[in-house]
């Protein structure tokens, strides 16, 4: 050892001085990790059913519950975790870096919505990461081996696994903490790694694994087969005709179409997602887009991202496969959060290069989407913003005068791909009343809905309500100050989970997809007098007795 290196007790002293208060063991003489983990109704997600795991070949299928004393881990589970960790430290440099570089400055401590909404110190990002870093230090660093008394390292036990399961499932991989970290540590990536490790020994979540298995089998989260998929879209076509008098003509699996449109399947099955889908269909008809929808690449979302890199890659591959099979020029993607994280950050390296596709160019405006040059997939908010900017849409924003809106940035689109302005631009062109939530809760500082990364299970409701509290609180602010009653978002998980969050914390606030409002505002050629919005709610000032404008 160098003569300049600090001696163990000096190092220890420095460590003690530098670490934030929380790491100093202010827990009645115990270490912070000795705080017990207790699984109770409402704070854990049901584990994957054995048949689900068998279907996708994931390890250790069995019946168990987080409240069981014995989790029936495989015999050599410690070895599996250690080797899994070793291989990931080698394969993913970010993981290794994030394990090594935290200076424990505490800047991230009060930035996580789970900490803010629960007050539980282990939900501070720095402590969350410390849950795994402490094991890493013990098993993988020379330092800990040299300094036996070095605080902050511990051995791997079943209790550690239980703690990981608890707290890496109270992280929605939203990355808010990373915005404030001077070292650029992204706790979301640490969570991804730990969830991968847990999956290796069969510690998992059915709400994630069942959609993965369904997606693997039929192409979408609900396991809907092609004919039902098509029927759903066609019944939305009927609804559009009834409301507007206009017949839109989507096509399915049509070879030679210019564009393949892929959106999260929630837009085809769930309320309020289906109204967003109606908005897309109206828009595409309005501009005469040459597009097709695939019944195989029938899911934009990718819950594989919450299980393992390999599964994420496999489920993502269908996008390019289908684009190639149909011979389209490029892909247009609907409103989704984590889908865009996968597309924007990983798709090209995982399953590309997609050199069989063209660099996306809007057939209506001629705009080249140079930012999508590598993935060849364009976000619908950019596409629509460009149409509006070029005056290609006939819009009547008064048709949304019955709504007083605010905008929720989806974490993955905002922080994951840096898109802040396009959805706001579109929203401001299709409605007249818009108010921002407080600055530290939007754009790159946006608060998660509390249910992201596959945590929107019903049995997890109490934690979801706590985790979503900071977002709800920001909505409450604009609700009270500006009478906002409509929360607009561009994410399918938000559309599924925010209505619940709003009903609990802010009754009277409804949740809308951006393109639902676009659909309301579009003045379609040959339409009949519109008096109701896509939800069949009356528009303000467009009643039967009101003047036509």
């Amino acid at each position: 050892m160098s003569k300049y290196a600090l001696k163990p007790d000096e190092l220890n002293k420095e460590f003690e001085q530098k670490k934030p208060r929380i790491l100093k063991g202010e827990f009645a003489g115990k270490d912070w990790w000795d705080l017990p983990v207790e699984f109770r109704d409402g704070n854990w997600c049901f584990p994957a059913k054995p048949e689900v795991l068998e279907e996708i070949g994931f390890p250790n299928p069995r019946k168990w519950a987080a409240t069981d004393a014995d989790w029936q881990l495989p015999k050599d589970w410690e070895k599996t975790i250690r080797e899994g960790m070793k291989s990931r430290l080698k394969r993913f440099r970010s993981f290794k870096l994030f394990m090594d570089t935290c200076v424990r400055c505490g800047a991230c401590a009060d930035k996580c919505h789970f900490f803010l909404g629960t007050g539980d110190p282990k939900n501070m990002p720095v402590l969350r990461a410390e849950l795994v870093r402490s094991v890493y230090r013990n098993d993988f660093t020379a330092l800990a081996k040299l300094l036996k008394s070095f605080s902050g390292s511990r051995t791997l036990t079943v209790e550690v696994i239980k703690e990981w399961h608890m707290y890496f499932n109270q992280c929605t991989e939203c990355r808010r903490c990373s915005v404030f970290c001077p070292m650029g540590i992204d706790t979301a990536e640490i969570t991804m790694m730990v969830r991968e490790l847990l999956n290796l020994i069969g510690v998992n979540n059915n709400w994630i694994m069942a959609p993965v298995a369904n997606c693997n089998r039929t192409g979408n989260h609900l396991g809907i087969e092609p004919h039902t998929f098509e029927q759903n879209v066609m019944s939305l076509v009927d609804d559009i005709e009834e409301l507007t008098g206009v017949t839109v003509n989507p096509t399915f699996n049509r070879k030679g179409a210019e564009i393949l449109f892929i959106t999260p399947s929630g837009d085809l099955f769930g309320d309020p997602g289906v109204y967003t889908m109606m908005g897309y269909l109206l828009l595409f008809h309005h501009i005469g887009l040459d597009y097709t929808i695939s019944t195989y690449a029938s899911e934009g979302g990718n819950f594989g991202m919450f299980t393992s890199n390999e599964m994420m890659k496999k489920l993502n591959a269908k996008m390019y496969h289908e684009a190639k099979r149909l011979g389209v020029k490029w892909i247009l993607g609907g409103e989704c959060g984590h889908m865009w994280r996968v597309v924007h950050q990983y798709m090209e390296t995982m399953n590309g290069p997609a050199d069989f596709l063209k660099e996306p160019v809007s057939p209506i405006t001629g705009t080249k989407f140079t930012n999508a040059k590598s993935t060849r997939m364009v976000h619908i908010a950019e596409f629509t913003a460009d149409l509006i900017k070029h005056g290609k849409l006939r819009l009547d924003p008064k048709r949304n005068d019955h709504l007083r809106t605010t905008f929720h940035d989806s974490c993955n689109v905002a922080r994951g791909m840096g898109m802040f302005e396009e959805p706001r631009y579109v929203l401001n062109k299709v409605c007249n009343v818009f108010h921002e939530m407080p600055e530290n809760t939007i754009r790159e500082q946006t608060f998660c809905c509390g249910s992201g990364s596959g945590l929107n299970a019903e049995e997890f409701m109490d934690i979801r309500m706590r985790g979503g509290f900071p977002r709800a609180n920001a909505v409450k602010y604009v609700k009270e100050k500006h009478k906002v009653d409509s929360l607009v978002t561009i994410c399918a998980i938000d559309r599924a989970s925010l209505p619940t969050l709003m009903k609990y914390w802010n009754p009277g606030v409804s949740v809308y997809g951006l393109h639902e409002l676009v659909g309301n505002a579009l003045v379609m050629e040959g339409e009949k007098k519109r008096t109701e919005d896509l939800r069949e709610n009356p528009m303000a000032g467009f009643g039967e007795g009101d003047d036509d404008e």
């Binding site: 208060r21 929380i22 202010e26 827990f27 705080l35 109770r40 704070n43 401590a109 009060d110 900490f115 803010l116 909404g117 629960t118 007050g119 539980d120 110190p121 282990k122 501070m124 029927q231 759903n232 019944s235 929630g266 085809l268 099955f269 769930g270 309320d271 309020p272 289906v274 019903e458 049995e459 409701m461 109490d462 309500m465 706590r466 509290f469 900071p470 609180n473 599924a496 989970s497 209505p499 619940t500 009903k503 609990y504 914390w505």
Partner: protein
């Protein structure tokens, strides 16, 4: 004549409120929750509730609905969550013995109201689970119901 308990609370509002807030927040798990948003929200709602405790002309309904909405989804057993009003009793200094009974009666009355409200929030949670499930299956249900 002894002063009314309402008067004593009003005169010492801030001190009582601070003690009350600290004791309620201490019920939450972890030792650092003072810095969290949920702690701030609890503190805010307790202020409104304290005013309604000591002034019958103010409606207690809204403060009770708001504070129980927060408490109903915390990691606390209902018995603990609903003990907050009784907890107030020991926090008011210089309360003459004669005031004990009317003060306790008021707290009992409001605790029962809080119980109703807490239960409504718990029922809302179960209803939200059902509603969410239905929303997710919207198109399938539409077909079945058609």
């Amino acid at each position: 004549m002894t002063r009314a308990w309402e008067q004593i609370i009003k005169e010492n509002r801030q001190a009582v409120l601070d003690r009350w807030t600290t004791s309620v927040i201490a019920m939450l798990p972890g030792s650092l929750n003072h810095g969290s948003l949920v702690a701030a929200a609890i503190a805010e709602e307790l202020g409104g509730l304290l005013d309604a405790v000591s002034d019958r002309s103010l409606s207690a309904t809204e403060p009770i609905v708001r504070i129980t909405r927060i408490l109903a989804v915390q990691d606390l057993p209902p018995s603990k969550a609903l003990s907050i009003l009784f907890g107030l009793k020991g926090l008011v200094d210089g309360l003459p013995a004669a005031c004990g009974e009317p003060f306790r009666d008021r707290l009992e009355e409001l605790t029962l109201q809080a119980f109703d409200s807490y239960m409504k929030h718990r029922e809302a949670i179960y209803q939200l689970k059902v509603d969410e499930g239905r929303r997710r299956m919207h198109m399938a249900l539409r077909r079945v119901e058609a």
